[in-house]
């Protein structure tokens, strides 16, 4: 019998923000679902007394030939990996993989994972010294190896950290996509691009498929700090494979399901059916954190005065032994038809805010694409709108990144001029971080 008294599983709470009032004939219902988990990871990475250390991490380091240009890149990558290894909690299973056009186990080898303690950490760092650059880049092979290693471990949390500095040139995009499909749901993975020779869309696609974060480390010197932070986050995760379950009544169409904070990620296409009229959307693993989701559904028309449940949102934790999944918490999205125009025309501030944040991410992407393809008028319009949205919603980080790509004439109206010269790193940073959102100002 499983031991359910283990208390380090976080408590999940679900809050729904919506305007449930619809006018006569109204059909679209929007809700922002705030999910907060507390109680997990509160020990700051220190193992809880008596709790099993249920995590395994594989670090994938790009060792392609380009890592030697400049040579500091390889050295920084080694140092960063060493720093990440130092951050491993005692008892965590781990392995280091060197990635080129093939994937090689650097430590501990033989298809196994090492268990972190002072001895294995020292051995791993010793092994890192032998890392050298040479070869191509085939990220799909790295992920498949990581999957094999992690799959052999008897743990709850499986996580990967992937570092690349170049394009995925030595396998077809289909190969990478196939590898991501195999790995999705089996482990989570953070992806980092170092330097400016990598493809933003490749790295963000890996992170989004594997429910991790993506970022740019333009200066290799910043790698160690970033790796330490990533590993700390990974060590803070307490519960894996949490799914957002959406139940909708007969006749209700799901328009979209998106994560909107801390980053925008469209989950609509990632639904797996879970019983009648219910579907699960993956959310990966959770520590002490809070995320927001935007659910939009179309309900059948009903008369004034009618009320219906438009969707029931719950968080589901699958039972590892194959039993019925555990419902962690749930919230209701409702629809009430009213002839009160004031009630039905007001937009919930949370919904309005995140609709703006999602548009912000989209117009940055479109603006940068237009700029690359030489459509400078289109780029100016889109990035101008982005500046306006970022300024209005108080997304200062994104506003700062935008100001390195465009000269802002007037943020309130979105009047901008494209900068004649833009550092590649600035453009890539903006593209990678375009999906970062801020929460509603309290």
């Amino acid at each position: 019998m499983a031991n359910f008294s283990k208390s380090n599983v976080p408590q999940f709470s679900v809050e729904v923000y919506q305007n449930e009032f619809l006018p006569e004939g109204g059909r679209e219902v929007n809700g922002i679902i705030t999910v907060t988990s507390t109680g997990g990871g509160t020990t700051g990475g220190v193992p809880l007394p008596g709790a099993a250390a249920g995590a395994a991490v594989v670090i994938m380091v790009d060792c392609s030939g380009s890592m030697d240009y400049p040579p500091t890149k390889m050295r920084n990558a080694r140092d960063a990996t060493a720093a990440a290894v130092d951050t491993l909690r005692d008892g965590t299973s781990f392995a280091v993989v060197a990635g080129t056009h093939v994937a090689k186990e650097v430590y501990p080898g033989n298809g196994r994972l090492a268990v972190a303690d002072s001895r294995t950490r020292a051995q791993a760092k010793e092994a890192l010294r032998r890392l050298s650059a040479g070869g191509g880049t085939a990220i799909g092979t790295w992920l498949r190896l990581a999957d094999r290693l992690l799959g052999a471990a008897d743990v709850d949390i499986r996580h990967g950290i992937l570092l690349t500095d170049g394009r995925n040139e030595h396998e077809s995009p289909e190969d990478l996509r196939a590898a991501l499909e195999v790995c999705a749901g089996r482990f989570t993975c953070d992806a980092r691009g170092v330097g400016t020779d990598w493809e933003v869309k490749e790295v963000t696609a890996i992170a989004s498929a594997l429910l991790g974060t993506a970022d740019i480390v333009a200066d290799p010197a910043g790698l160690a700090a970033d790796f330490t932070r990533m590993m700390e986050d990974a060590m803070g995760k307490e519960v894996a494979d949490v799914a957002l379950r959406l139940w909708t009544p007969v006749g209700v169409e799901i328009q979209y399901v998106k994560q909107v904070a801390p980053t925008v990620a469209d989950l609509t296409g990632r639904r797996t059916e879970a019983g009648p009229r219910a579907g699960d959307y993956p959310t990966g693993s959770w520590g002490d954190e809070s995320r927001d989701y935007h659910v939009c559904v179309r309900v059948p028309e009903a008369g004034i005065g009618q009320e219906m449940l438009a969707a029931r949102v719950s968080l589901i934790l699958p039972d590892p032994s194959g039993g019925a999944p555990q419902t962690l918490s749930q919230g209701l999205v409702r629809a009430v038809w009213t002839d009160d125009m004031v009630a039905s025309t007001s937009i919930n501030p949370q919904v309005a805010h995140y609709t703006g944040q999602a548009e912000l991410a989209q117009v940055i992407q479109q603006g940068l694409d237009a700029r690359k393809s030489g459509d400078f008028d289109g780029a100016t319009a889109k990035l101008g709108r982005a500046v306006q949205l970022a300024s209005a919603s108080g997304n200062e980080d994104t506003a700062k990144l935008l100001s390195k790509v465009v000269d802002v004439v007037d943020a309130a109206t979105g009047t901008v001029r494209l900068k004649a010269k833009v550092a590649e790193a600035d453009e890539m940073t903006l593209e990678t971080r375009s999906t970062k959102t801020v929460r509603v100002k309290k």
Partner: protein, 404 residues
Amino acid sequence: MSQNHQETALPRCPGCEEPLEQGDLFCGACGYDLSAAPAPAPDRPTVALVTPGQAPAAAAPSGVRHGGPDAADDFELAAPGAAAPDPRTAQEPVPAAAAGGKVCVACRAGRVDGDGYCENCGHAQPRERDHMEQELGAVAAVSDRGLRHHRNEDSFAVSTTALPDGSAAVVAIVCDGVSSASRPDEASAAAASTANECLLESLPRGTHPQQAMHEAIVAASESVNRLAQQAGQERDQHRHQNAPACTLVGAVVANGLLVVGWIGDSRVYWVPEDRSAAPARLTEDDSWAAQMVATGLMNEAEAYADERAHAITGWLGADAYELEPHTASFKPDRPGLVVVCTDGLWNYAESAAEMAAAVPEDAYRRPLHGAQVLVGHALDGGGHDNVTVALLPFTVSPQGAGSA
């Protein structure tokens, strides 16, 4: 008897949840054809409640097999194992409905979940307060959600008691929750029941009905104020701005006297039994329009045409400016009907003459039927608000007239 007492006591219409009576062929409220549903077996009337699921399930093997192992105790362990595949496959096509929950009134296919929504079509189920009726011999009241609001924020209380001299006293209280406040439905329910209890306590002690009415309104006000305090403890401070609030109108018929009391814009009308006599409105709204007219700033037509006309200037609730309960005492010289109602009704019969025309001829003798007809009048007019009306027939007793 005992095993059935709860559900069988109140068979309800599968269409609208209206309580049914033995032998009904159609639902009295929504016209649902009850013969379409399998006729309830006389010994197990609960079947009517869960028809779609129960009927197919009745023949399902599960019921039979559960009995089997019990009887054949030698094979207690073996039997469920052998039978296991069958009940599982047999039960799956008979989903939720068979699990004993109520069936949705909107789609009639899904079961109602713990939150009060259908597990199939998601529709909210009628709540107990959506339609309420009560009759107590000399007084009857009906309250309805109306056609445009999603819940009933009105409430009422009716009762009868005895004065110290043994003569009967009849009480009717009607409250209308203020929609712009939070939890108006709780406010109206608290106010109506508190005022009623207060009168039931003070009238038998011999308190003058007008004084008793005044005290009852003050007590009701305190009970509504307490709702705001409770909220303040559990919730954020900003909730206070929207303290629960409601109107109140009450009537007491006792000892040949008709006493009315009110706060807000719920009203009392007087409709004499002899329809040739003039009907009258007995209350003066605490509303913007009434105030404009009273102070002579506007004439009645102008004031009621203004969009602020119905904004009320007096109510029960923690954020009311100053509680000024209005009471009035009348000594009618002829029998008649006292109509106690919310604006959900009088919006469709504003003047006393219109109200008298809407009251059916026999309402004096059949107050419940009369109240139902009046609610129907409001629904026919559009039912834009919750509708609540209480009818108290006023009798002039020869004794009372003589002593007064």
